[in-house]
């Protein structure tokens, strides 16, 4: 193995030739490649971050639906969704502790997920307004599979955690390590593999509902 490592690095250096630059010099050069982030990402000046997020998330290409509410109404809103889609009241749930204190008595919440789970309720750490994207970092509290196995993915997102661009999410990891799995999810699972026709629910969720909590503070 180390023999192949040496061979590859040797051949790279031979191909590039000359004196190799120092790590610092390379770092400075890399930083200079993007002098201004505003020049390389779509501007939506004048559009409120929240409005942009909702417009993108519910657009034809992203296909989520969304409703705005305050936290205490969350269980009723979830119940309305579950009932109107004729789903069972037993749902897979991975919410942070402060949302578990709400009145969930209408549901049987389980903390494991089955291979063909109909509904899962999860919490997004952040939303990205640029693209209507939800951000799910893995952690002991938030297993990754809850976001990928269900047919209906119900996502709780705090309005105040919506940021304009993906780079705003990256900034959190300038000082903290990346989670094992950082999942940026933009709407439902889709495929265009048969004649380019868009179909939803390829391997992951077919439906996504975003519950946007607008509590003050």
């Amino acid at each position: 193995m180390s023999e192949h490592r040496a061979r590859i690095l040797g051949r790279v250096r031979q191909a590039l030739g000359g004196e190799r630059a120092s790590a610092d010099a390379i770092g400075r050069e890399a930083a200079a490649l993007i002098p201004d982030l505003a020049a390389v990402r779509p501007s939506f000046e004048g559009e409120a971050v929240l409005d942009r997020f909702l417009a993108k998330a519910t657009s034809e290409k992203v296909t989520a639906t969304a409703e705005r509410l305050v936290a205490r109404d969350l269980p009723t809103a979830v119940q309305r969704y579950v009932e109107s889609n004729q789903l069972a009241s037993e749902i897979a749930c991975a919410l942070p502790a402060e949302l578990m204190t709400l009145d969930w008595s209408a549901f049987t919440l389980k903390h494991v997920i089955d291979r063909n789970e109909p509904v899962a309720l999860t919490f997004a750490e952040a939303g990205i307004a640029e693209t209507g994207t939800l951000v799910f970092p893995s952690s002991p509290m938030v297993p990754t599979l809850f976001n990928f196995l269900p047919l209906h993915h119900l996502v709780v997102l705090r309005a105040r955690s919506i940021v304009p661009y993906m780079e705003d999410v990256w900034r959190r990891f300038d000082t903290a390590p990346l989670p094992r799995s950082l999942n940026l999810v933009t709407g439902t699972s889709g495929t265009a593999d048969i004649e380019g026709k868009n179909v939803r629910g390829a391997h992951g969720p077919r439906f996504m509902r975003i519950f946007l909590l607008e509590d003050a503070g």
């Binding site: 590859i8 790279v12 990402r41 002991p140 495929t191």
Partner: protein, 470 residues
Amino acid sequence: MTVAYTSQHFKQEAKAALVEPNLQRALDRTTTLLQGRRAEAYRAYAEFETTRDAGSAIKDHVLCHLDHYLEAFERNAVAAGCQVHWAATAEEACRIVVDLCQQANAKTVTRVKSMLGEEIGLPEALDEAGFDRVETDLAEHINQLAGDRPSHIVIPALHKTQEQVAELFAQHHGHGRVIEEVGELVQSARLVLREKYFAADVGISGANFLVADTGAVCTVTNEGNAELTMQLPRVQIVTAGIEKLVPSLDHAGVLLRLLARSALGMEITQYTTFLTGARRPGDRDGPEAMHIVLVDAGRTDILADEIRSILKCIRCAACINHCPVYSQIGGHAYGGIYQGPMGSVLTPAMASLAQAKDLPHACTLNGRCVEVCPVKIPLTDLMRTLRERTWREQLVDRPTRFGLGLWAAVAKRPALYRFTTRWAIRALKLWSRGRGAIRFLPFAGAFTASRDLPAPEGGTFMDRYRRGER
């Protein structure tokens, strides 16, 4: 295990493809759609040109400092708990993956579509070692059932019509029904593959980007199959070409914006995932081990070659979708893993120029590929470079050499050239009998067999120039 290239049969294969009705229907339906979607996405992105400049500069920068970024990535990935392996050749890469699967006592191995995996012959190596290999990307699932190779790097089953897929699923999905609705076809595959994800012992993917400063592996998909493939099995293996590095997440962001728009006309793919290491203490899911295999397989040769800039390719397929040659003959005729303009540069480098000599010649040099390339690879220049090389290396056949020699002899003598072209135009006009197009021409039967030659109009360039038509 290396892939058996069949590019030496390009001319016959292309000829056959032109008269294959299902292929022509599938190509026509899909390439037009993809061109339209891309154009629409960029109309809504005023920052496209500056992003493209940045994307191109990032890829150039990484190639110039590839040794630095490889070592940085390795250091950070190992610190995050990954095991990093190096493979100078395709055979070595396959051997490492097969060994890892055997060490994990694997029976079922799921795979996410990865062009590198196809390139190094990984599917064949896994089959040969006796694993139950399951392709999870819908298109690769279709290809696996049909026993086909990918015909497009983003939509690998582009050559199949919906009707053909329906027949395959009826035969292989155990329900025997020929499904007519495309949504139901997708559902049929979902049910079959869901069971496989859970049965898998090892999940294998490629990488769209390797983030040097964090050791993260970035994959993008729309189906979500990468996530299920990488999260469920005990062992996760990533195979990635050494050119896939980016300095940081910010640099990845620039390329992500270009990739999704160029490939499918989307602002972002549905799933963009960064994986950094194996399961951590307290995690309730994720693999127990994460392996990354860094693969050279000819890349350092390309790095040392005039065609180095092809290593900037981010595999978006925009050049393929806009190539008039691809849209007529599809992907299989190229006889390798990569198609269209990028394939016509990569395949000669990866197989041999002698075997794939027809590929760089099968180009009209119209330059649409260069216009749409998100990282500004001068594809037509690269093809010209390869054409010159086929000439120098005596790979051009004798009649062509003779013809070109004759043309050069005439072209170097202006008076003779003007005289000859003037008479040639008159002869061609007469031959066309006023129809505007020539269907058959003696000594050019190979050209006119599948296309018409436009009849010349209004005299030679020099005559018209002198008449004041400027």
